[in-house]
Amino acid sequence: MEQKKNQVLMETRNLKKYFPVEKKIDGQQAEVKAVNDISMKIRHNEVYGLVGETGCGKSTFGRTLLRLMEPTEGRIFYKGEDITELPQGEFRKYRQKLQMIFQDPYTSLNPRKSAGKILEEVLAVQGMKNVRERMELSLEILGKVGLRPEHYYRYPHEFSGGQRQRIGIARALILNPEFIVCDEPVSALDVSIQSQIINLLLELKETEHLSYLFIAHDISVVRYISDRIGVMYLGYLFEESHTAGLFRSPLHPYTKALLAAVPTIDFDKGKKKRELIRGELPSPLFPPSGCVFHTRCPYAKDICKEQCPDMKEVEKGHRVMCHLYDEKEKTK
């Protein structure tokens, strides 16, 4: 088991997702580079948190990883097997293992189907013909996510936000997946409900041996739930580290600014003076040259304007994409 724990479950190599837009720049078809050259690994039974501001590409990355969108370039591996170009028919059997939970429990459930039917539909698509078996399995899953058998016949509008999110989780869980992309699963929920759902996700991770890609903009939630965290900005993965390391010593100037902006309940240290990040996210249609963060970076040097830095491992398990650490890697 211990050995399995360190096995890589999902992996991307130089994954890119570009969206063409109806615009020509210098006579060329313009593109938004939503995911740019991301290489990362998610291990068995691991929670990988992905943070970044609106439009940084974190949701697109999650969807591309599950091939809900086809990547522009790069490879995706599941247990070492290249699944990037498998035809849809063949890919279907992998779908069971790779599931998704969506942010908005109000729009991601069909309002005209009861909770039971929503769950059984998933089984029917995967070819389970026996109606009775489908119902039994659905009821079992309802129990696992903390709902009661009588909820089987209820429709989405009869549930509260937290209960709806439980149905969303049940739907992802019913095919015995190994990996779930959770795209802002608690952002739409009130604080008292949020902790219920987070606890449920953590419990299921243990009992069902799941791995998560946990996408969220709430950094305190990501810190709590994640084993490792990746920080994205304008399509790039800027930094990646074990959770403790990232909060103890964030390396990238953007990560530092992002963490400093998080409000905290802390009266012991008095009012803290924080260095706020200046300006706003540049348009993804016209990303800055070199390092895309140099326009807002207080430490930007000449090289940052010209050359995009490489991702490098500065400490064990702690990677960063920033010229400030060029030297550090050489001496290592």
């Binding site: 501001e53 987070i198 606890n199 990040i277």
Partner: protein, 325 residues
């Protein structure tokens, strides 16, 4: 500090809905002082927005069945004002910033014109040129880069953070004495949220106004507010200075909310604290203490009698039998 600029006494509001009569707020009393930020926190449906909309009488008259109590602004009861008189108050002495700046701004009107419109409404003596001058000043004050160009742009040309700055500019341009901010940063990223909250705090200092900040985010409250009111199911359950509230929360609901959010500094607990159950519907308000069905300390007495909001010490008030003992 100073006297009570706004005082709400025993405010209650009922609305007619498809599911019958809903008492959205019940017996709300609080006050706001000059040069302070009062936070009103609570989860969806607790009545925090209704409370603040009532101050400006922004509710839908068609559905309002009953509005009781007093809203005293400078000693005058706003509920007794005529609609005409209220128009002078709104955007003049008391103004409001909404959560969703995109839907609150007029999409087919230039930003500059929207600010000028507000100025001319309240200051008929000003010429167009003077109003424009004032609008440009406020744009600069709220930190809009290249504000002269922005003046000529439309809302869709701006980012979310910039739009919220425009909203704040419109709210502040007539020099209000009270600014009501209803979830002003909820739709924004943390980096932008920090910028906007800093801006609100700075402008409060400069203009000496009173700010009422409505939010569900306890961390934002901890960082910016001076005093806090906690609401649950249409009632105030606790009120205290911000430090007192976070260091010595007295109501089980306040404590539960604080414990259920993951901390940024402490060791991670195995599991997060959970407040059992969900907020009941307004049509199914429990008898006795409204929090009793979810409260781990609830006794028979809590289920039968409603505790009053009583002062413990130094302005720290709580609605709970356990804490009052």
């Amino acid at each position: 500090m100073s006297s009570k600029l706004l005082e709400v006494k025993n405010l209650a509001a009922s609305f007619k809905t498809e599911r019958g009569l809903m008492k959205a707020i019940d017996g709300i009393s609080f006050y706001a002082q000059e040069n302070e930020i009062l936070g009103i926190v609570g989860e969806s449906g607790c009545g925090k927005s209704v409370t603040c909309q009532s101050v400006l009488r922004l509710y839908d008259e068609k559905h309002l069945v009953k509005l009781e109590g007093e809203i005293l602004f400078d000693g005058e009861n706003l509920l007794k004002y005529s609609e005409k008189e209220m128009e002078h108050i709104r955007g003049g002495a008391i103004s409001m910033v909404f959560q969703d700046a995109l839907s609150a701004l007029n999409p087919v009107m230039k930003i500059g014109d929207q600010i000028v419109e507000g100025i001319l409404l309240h200051h008929k003596e000003l010429s167009k040129a003077e109003a424009k001058e004032r609008a440009l000043n406020i744009l600069e004050q709220v930190g809009i880069p290249a504000f002269r160009e922005r003046f000529e742009q439309y809302p869709h040309e701006l980012s979310g953070g910039m739009r919220q700055r425009i909203m704040i500019a419109i709210a502040l341009v007539c020099g209000p004495r009270i600014l009501i901010a209803d979830e002003p940063t909820t739709a924004l990223d943390v980096t932008i949220q920090a910028q906007i909250m800093n801006l609100i705090v700075r402008l409060k200092e400069e203009m000496g106004m009173s700010v009422i900040l409505i939010t569900h985010d306890l961390a934002v409250v901890a960082e910016t507010c001076d005093r806090v009111v906690v609401m649950y199911l249409g009632q105030i359950v606790e009120e205290a200075d911000v430090k007192e509230l976070f260091l010595h929360p007295a109501h089980p609901y306040t404590r539960g909310m604080m414990m259920s959010i993951p901390s940024m500094s402490e060791e991670k607990p195995e599991r997060l604290y959970v407040i059992q159950g969900t907020v009941p519907l307004l049509s199914q308000i429990p008898s006795g203490c409204r929090f009793a069905p979810r409260c781990e300390y609830a006794t028979q007495r809590c289920r039968e009698a409603m505790p009053e909001l009583e002062e413990l010490e130094n302005g720290h008030k709580v609605r709970c039998f356990m804490a009052q003992r």
